[in-house]
Symmetry: C4
Subunit: 208 residues, 4 copies
C-alpha cells in the first residue's frame, strides 16, 4: 500500500465483519453443551431431550452463513472510495442483530419444548431478531442503491427486483413472528425454509 493512496474502509470493514460473523457462528455451538455425569440424566437422554438445540444450531448456522455470503456479494459490488460515513454505521446495525442470533437461538432451543406462552415468546423473539437482521441488511442495500454506491449501477429493473425480493423476505419473517404465537415449531420451520430459499437464490450485486 502506497503512502499516497490511503486504504479505503471497505477492506477493514469486511475484515471486521468477517470476524464478527465468525465469532457469532462459532458461539452457536456453546448452546449444544450437555451436563456432565452425575446429574441423574444419561447422556443419551440429554441428547434426545435437547433435539431443539441441534435443530436450532443448524438453522441459525446456515442463516448466519447465508447472510455472510450475501454480505460479501453486496460489499464486493460497492465503490471503494465513497460512503465512508453511512456505510460503517449501517453495517454496525446489521451486526447488532447478527451478534444477537446466538442469544435468540439458545432461548428458542431451551423453551421450544416448554410449551405455553414461553415457547411462543421464545420463537417470536428468535424470528424478531432474524427480522431485524433482514431489515437492516435491506436498509444497507437500499442505501447503496440510493447513494449510487455500486460500481456497476443497477438498472431500474434490477433495483426493483431486488427491492421486491427483500420486501418478500421481510414479510416472511414478519409472518414467522406471527406464527410463533400459534405454533413455535412451525415458526422455526419457516426460518429453516428461508435458509433453503436463500441457498438456492442469490442476492444481486453490482459486481457480477
Amino acid at each position: 500500500v502506497s503512502d499516497a493512496a490511503p486504504e479505503p474502509i471497505n477492506a477493514r470493514l469486511e475484515a471486521f465483519s468477517d470476524g464478527v460473523f465468525a465469532v457469532a457462528i462459532t458461539l452457536l455451538a456453546l448452546n449444544l453443551a450437555v451436563d456432565g455425569p452425575g446429574h441423574g440424566t444419561s447422556l443419551a437422554r440429554q441428547l434426545g431431550d435437547r433435539w431443539p438445540a441441534f435443530v436450532a444450531y443448524v438453522v441459525s448456522f446456515f442463516t448466519i452463513g447465508i447472510v455472510w455470503v450475501n454480505h460479501h456479494a453486496l460489499m464486493r459490488g460497492l465503490r471503494r472510495d465513497q460512503g465512508r460515513r453511512a456505510l460503517p454505521f449501517l453495517n454496525l446495525v446489521l451486526l447488532l442483530f447478527v451478534v444477537a442470533i446466538p442469544f435468540g437461538t439458545a432461548t428458542v432451543a431451551d423453551y421450544l419444548r416448554a410449551g405455553g406462552s414461553d415457547a411462543h415468546l421464545a420463537a417470536a423473539l428468535y424470528n424478531a431478531i432474524m427480522l431485524g437482521m433482514a431489515v437492516s441488511f435491506g436498509t444497507l442495500f437500499v442505501w447503496a442503491i440510493r447513494a449510487d454506491q455500486f460500481v456497476r449501477r443497477l438498472t431500474g429493473a434490477e433495483a426493483r427486483r431486488a427491492t421486491v425480493r427483500f420486501g418478500i423476505g421481510n414479510l416472511v419473517y414478519v409472518t414467522a413472528v406471527g406464527v410463533a404465537f400459534i405454533s413455535p415449531p412451525a415458526s422455526l420451520a419457516i426460518s429453516a425454509l428461508i435458509d433453503v430459499y436463500y441457498i438456492a437464490e442469490r442476492t444481486p450485486s453490482g459486481g457480477s
Copy 2:
C-alpha cells in the same frame, strides 16, 4: 509481497485489532442469556426484568463499533514504515480497555436495578473502563502527532482541534464516572449520548 520489502506492522496490527474488536463486540451478547425453563420465572418476566442488559448491550455495541471506526480512521492515516516500537504497545493498552468492556457491561446490567452503593459502583466501573479506553485512544493520537507519524502532517489548527475534542470526550467520561455515584441510569445515559455524538462526528486523520 516481495522478499525485498518486508511487510510493515500496520497491516497485521489492524488484522489483530479487528479480531479483538470483533470478539469483544460479539461477547457482549453472552450477557443477554436468560435462565432456561423450570427456574420459576417466566421468559416474559425475565426479559422484562433484564431490560438493563438490553440497553447496556446496545450502548456498548455502538461504543465498540465507534472506537473501531475511529481506530480505522487513525490507522489509515499513519505512515506504513515507522514507529514500530511504540505503536503496538500503545495499541495494546487501548485493546486492554476494549476487551474489558463486556465485563463492565455485564456488571452494570446486573447491578443497575439492585440500587444502593452496588449500582453506583457498577455504573462508575463501567464508565471508568470507557474513560480508560478514551484516554488510551487519545494517547495513541497524541503520540502519532508528536512522533510525526501521519502521512499528511496535521496543521497546528487541526491538531489543536482534535486535542480539544479528545479532551472534551475524556471530561465527559470523567463526569459520567462522577454522576454514577448520584444516578446510575443517568451515568449510563451519558455514555449513550457520547455514542450519538460520535456517530454524528468523525475523528480527523491525516489520510482524508
Copy 3:
C-alpha cells in the same frame, strides 16, 4: 483493488474460515477450566481427575489445526474467479462440523471416565463429528475436481490417489465410531493416530 476487478470470494472465504477455525480452536480451552477453591476437591486432585480433558484438548487442537492446513492447501489451488455458488455452501457444511468439535471434545472429556453406555456414546459422538468433518472436506475436494476448479488440473492418477486417501480417512473414522462402543479410550486413540498420520502426510492440491 481496482473498481473494474471485483474481488473474488476466495479471499473473504479464507478470512471468514480462518476466523471460524481460530475461534473454534480457542474455545477448546474453555473445557480445561477447574472449579475454584472451596469445592472440597484440591486443585491437584482436580487436574489429575480431569486428564481426559487435557488429552482431548491436545487431540482436538491438532485435528482442527490439520484441517486448517489442509483447507489452506485446497483453497490455494482453486481458481480465483469461478464456482461462487457451490463453494461457500460446501465450505459452510465443513465449518458446521468444525464448530461442533469443541462440543464433542467437552462431552468426551466429561464422560470418558464415567464408563458404561454414556462413555461409549460420548466417544461415538466425538468421532461422528470428526467423520462429518472428514466427509464434508472430501466432498469439497471431489467437487473441486469434478467442477474443474483447480488452477493446475490434477492428473487422473493424482485425483484417484487423493480420493483413495480421503476414502481411507473416512473409513478409519467410521471404525473409530464403531470402536467407541467397545472401548472409548481406544476410539479416542484412533483419532490421535489420524492426527499423527496427517501431520506426516499432506493433502495434494492443484497449486504445488
Copy 4:
C-alpha cells in the same frame, strides 16, 4: 492474486494466528466476571477480593500481546515460498500454549489467595504454560535459522545473541515455576517482570 502464483502459506498463517491471539486475549476478560446481586457479597467486596484476577488479567494480556508482536517480527522476516511442512505445525504447537493461557490465568487468579499447596500448584501451572509457550517460540526461531528461512540471513553473532536471549527467557520461566512452590505471588511477579523486559527489548528478525 494471479492464478499462476499460488499464495504462500505465510499470509493465511498470520491471519489464522492473529485470530487465535485475538480470541485468546479477549477470553482473558471472561474471568473478571463477578456474581450478580443477591449472592450475599457486595460488589465492592467482590471486586476487592478478586484483585488477583485483575492483576493476572493485565499480566497475561501483555504477555499475549508481546508474543503477538514477536510473532509478527519473526514472520515478517521469513521467506514467503518455503518451509511449508514444518512451519504450520511448529506454529500450531506455539498456539497450543497461547490458547491455554486464559485457563492458566483463571486458575492462578482463583487459587492465589487460597494459599497452601493449591496456590503453589496454580502459580506453577501458570508459569509452566508460559514456559511451554517460550520454548515453542524459541523452537520456531531456531528452526527458522537452521532451515535458512530468513530472507536476510542472520550473522553468526546475531543468531548466537538471539539464542542466548531465548535461553535466558526460558531459564527465567523455569525459575518462576520453581519459585511458585515457595511464593506464588513472587512467581506471578516474575512473569510480570518478563513482560516489562520484553516491552523494552525486541526480538531480532531477518527483516529489519
